[in-house]
């Protein structure tokens, strides 16, 4: 047993246990990687909560992204899954089409969308212009940058959709038939049969969506970098363009990256990591505890 578990025991201690303890330790120190850590007490946390001028924006952007993207993704994936489940033909082809974007590398997908949504040369605004609409500035406009990222996020919804589709197709047929006998219409069958049966899967998607929202990084980093047009020179990846435009895509993990790995304020970045850790834990806990109210757990009666 010990032999079988040994890789994980080492891996867990070195890559999970040690960093957590070390993060807590470093968060109470000033550390720049060059000189030894210097004890500063709670100064990092004080700065984090009261002084840092960017934390407010970063937290707000992250919450905005979670509050908008997660429900939209779930609704969209569910809608497509329900329609796919009703489709008589081409279900495999449709599934492939909707799933493929989810597999594409996030960097590539983001680059593609920054081009497609380019205000001047991008095809979307070109087409909009032809039908007489002045398209928005998308990634160049502080109030449109996050919605543009939401569109990108919805394009990559295939994973959730495939899981939902499997769950919808798995709903026992006899439940629908008895509901139909009771005179339930389409909407009522959805409300009282489909949704309760697949609610654990929806809960899973929501938790996953929130967790991913908390670590939202790659798309924001690439979009900010490319859209700002000041992407750094080769061999010198700096944080120029992070949060562009006007901090509207500055998400918490992006700010953490900037403090930790372009300013090398390791102690302060550790304090930010500790806050992220606490929030991730709290969010998962709250969702799981509240889920009893609305998630249907298949009871013995069904089996």
């Amino acid at each position: 047993m010990l032999l079988l578990m040994s890789p994980w025991l080492v891996g867990f201690s070195v890559f999970f246990g040690y960093p957590l303890v070390m993060s807590a330790y470093l968060s109470l120190h000033h550390y720049d990687l060059l000189s030894p850590p210097r004890w500063v007490g709670l100064a990092n946390y004080r700065y984090l909560f009261f002084t840092d001028p960017q934390v407010g924006a970063a937290v707000k952007n992250t919450l905005w992204m979670i509050a908008v993207l997660v429900p939209l993704q779930v609704l969209f994936a569910l809608g497509v899954a329900l329609m796919l489940a009703r489709a008589r033909r081409g279900i495999g082809l449709f599934r492939t089409i909707f799933y493929l974007p989810a597999l594409t590398p996030p960097v590539a997908a983001t680059l593609g969308f920054v081009y497609i949504l380019n205000p001047v040369t991008g095809p979307v605004n070109n087409i909009l212009k032809r039908i007489g609409i002045d398209g928005p500035l998308w990634f160049q406009d502080p109030s449109w940058a996050k919605p543009s990222l939401v569109i990108l996020g919805l394009w990559g919804v295939g994973n959730t959709m495939v899981i939902f589709l499997a769950a919808v197709l798995d709903v026992p047929q006899h439940l629908y038939e008895s509901a139909e006998l009771d005179g339930a219409n389409w909407l009522q069958r959805l409300r009282w049969v489909t949704l309760p049966t697949i609610s654990p899967v929806i809960l899973f998607a929501v938790i996953l969506g929130v967790i991913q929202g908390l670590q939202y990084f790659t798309q924001a980093y690439v979009a900010g970098n490319i859209a700002s047009g000041q992407a750094s020179q080769a061999a010198d990846v700096t944080s120029v363009g992070l949060g562009y435009p006007e901090d509207s895509t500055l998400f918490y993990p992006v700010l953490l990256y900037q403090h930790g790995f372009s300013d090398f304020q390791m102690g302060y970045a550790s304090a930010m990591a500790m806050l992220l850790l606490a929030v991730s834990f709290a969010v998962t806990l709250v969702i799981v505890l509240n889920s009893r109210r609305w998630v249907h757990h298949a009871a013995g009666a069904l089996k």
Partner: protein, 293 residues
């Protein structure tokens, strides 16, 4: 479907014509919406493809269709950027990490699924928690650790952890191992097999689809990974993987959207090819776990 019809104890009465017509129209509407959505999902890739075939002047104009088709863009991409080196670096990361994930996660998943020992449930809980935590939480101390080992600037900090167990793979394999009938294992035990031999003769053979799925996920994940490679190799262009190279591509080639889109498609291509090649193995693995999950 047919089973449900057999057990239905009543004969369905023929529905009135109005109801049938309504159903037909609903089905048409359903398909229409699906087709529209499918076009919307394909459009971005279509636009990327069209742009990648334009000359750089056309890419900056309002035209949507390349005229003439600039096929040489796809050659230029390879001559203007060190794509082959990025590809080799990516393969180094993806292949070594995937082998590591399999070698280290299979025994752990087996111990968690089929052996009884004190603390097993606690260990499984910790795996689940590790699965939930954002990588940013532990990244600062790990960076410091790798810096002290003088490995920042190489790909080893992103490869080595995979040789020591990956939470997602352990979780997925464990779920599959749980479904293997105990009789197989008992039969092997009666024959005098040790647990290690049972694992590598009986379990691994039965779990091939799940192992293939884990390998596939792991390969795709590492191929697409950006955050950790950026963190450790961002400053050292010699060790850039494809994703970092791509993110910097446009700054190396001032505003050449046509070449940038060609590079984007080159980076997407392996994923798409793998998906179509492995779709069957992938779906088989998923359905096999789903049948008795």
């Amino acid at each position: 479907m047919s089973a449900a019809e057999v057990t239905t104890p009543f004969v369905r009465r023929r529905r009135p014509a109005t109801v049938r017509r309504k159903r037909f129209l609903l089905a048409v509407a359903n398909h229409a919406v699906l087709i529209a959505a499918a076009i919307a999902f394909l459009a971005p890739i279509g636009f990327m493809l069209l742009t990648s075939l334009m000359t750089s002047d056309q890419a900056l104009s309002a035209r949507l269709w390349p005229q003439p088709f600039a096929w040489h863009n796809f050659v230029d991409v390879f001559t203007t950027a060190p794509i082959w080196r990025w590809t080799l670096n990516t393969l180094q990361y993806s292949v070594l990490a995937t082998i590591g994930v399999l070698v280290s996660s299979v025994p752990v998943a087996y111990a968690l699924a089929r052996l009884r020992w004190r603390g097993r449930n606690v260990a499984f809980m910790i795996v689940l928690i590790a699965l939930m935590l954002p990588p940013q939480v532990s990244v600062v101390p790990l960076y410091v650790m790798w810096a002290k080992l003088h490995l920042v600037g190489t790909l080893w900090p992103v490869i080595i952890p995979n040789w020591l167990g990956d939470a997602f793979s352990i979780f997925l394999l464990r779920q599959f191992f749980l479904t293997i009938p105990e009789e197989y294992l008992d039969a092997a035990r009666v024959d005098g097999c040790g647990e290690l031999r049972i694992l590598y003769t009986v379990v691994v053979r039965l779990a091939k689809p799940a192992i293939a799925a884990v390998a596939l996920f792991s390969f795709l994940y590492t191929f697409n990974d950006f955050f950790l490679p950026l963190l450790y190799t961002g400053e050292n262009a010699h060790h850039w993987v494809l994703q970092i190279g791509l993110s910097e591509f446009r700054s190396l080639h001032q505003v050449q959207w046509n070449l940038t889109m060609a590079a984007t498609l080159v980076v997407m291509a392996p994923v798409i090819v793998i998906f179509f090649l492995a779709q069957k193995a992938f779906v088989e693995g998923v359905t096999l776990t789903g049948v008795k999950g």
